[in-house]
Subunit: 130 residues, 2 copies
DNA sequence: ACCTAATTACGAAATATTTCGTAGAACTTC
DNA sequence: GAAGTTCTACGAAATATTTCGTAATTAGGT
């Protein structure tokens, strides 16, 4: 059984929850409304479905339910990365990384940060078989 | 107008076309069948839809049509990357790259390759504003 | 208690994607 | 040239996702 990735609408909800912490439907809907038109019950329904799917958990102790994600942001990112990696890059992480950094506007600061990270990775592999 | 990403089924077709070059429905279907059960007319229909969408072009000069992709693999990879970047990584390429290289089994050879690439990128930015 | 506002539950329409059956045309073989 | 095979076109069912309207419930204010 491989992990499933959230749908687009689900990911939008998760992004708010990861940024703001446990929230009500009202709070989520207000955040999403800043980006695009979306009805309250639409957001509600998505979050109810996510709860059934096991993506969210909710506290029903007060009338206004409070939802929180059951997956860590980094785990979800990894799952989505893996899916992209396998479906579009033939499993080659280096191709993907070079595509990510290639022509686009990654800042120099970011490139420096990545290089530092990469050096760490290489350092940790001293002695590994190649 | 931002570019749209192919669906999962469409991407599977594209992957074969990019690897094998222009192909018939029969050829594509046989490749896909090695991975999973899929009916001939299912593949046909997907490819017909892709043609209407402008993802594929077909040569109808012989009875058995020959299809080819209208997008380069690298362009499609970039479009899909950008979507993931914005939807799941808040636009931060460095977070995405570190997630891609983080715990998983990228080989040392790949890491070296990426570092070389990164050095080139940094070299090309000598004098850019930071 | 009554009215209003906010909330949840639920069904269902709208849209998108995937799957496949059937019909008819075009080619092959005997 | 009849029979069988291969192909395309097309409709439609099956599935997944997104959207929203309506009804019922609860809370708060007066």
């Amino acid at each position: 059984m491989s992990k499933s990735t959230p749908t687009d609408a689900e990911l939008e909800v998760l992004n708010v929850l990861w940024a703001k912490g446990p929230s009500t439907v009202r709070e989520i809907n207000e955040m999403l409304s800043q980006e695009k038109e979306v009805g309250y019950t639409t957001t509600l329904k998505i979050m109810q479905i996510m709860t059934v799917k096991g993506l969210l958990e909710r506290d029903e102790s007060s009338r206004t339910h409070v939802y929180k994600p059951l997956m860590k942001e980094s785990d979800t990112q990894r799952t989505m990365m893996d899916k992209l990696l396998n479906s579009a890059f033939g499993g080659s992480a280096s191709k993907l990384v070079m595509q990510a950094l290639g022509n686009n506007k990654t800042t120099k600061a970011e490139l420096d940060e990545i290089r530092k990270f990469l050096d760490d990775q290489l350092e940790n592999r001293k002695g590994d078989r190649e």
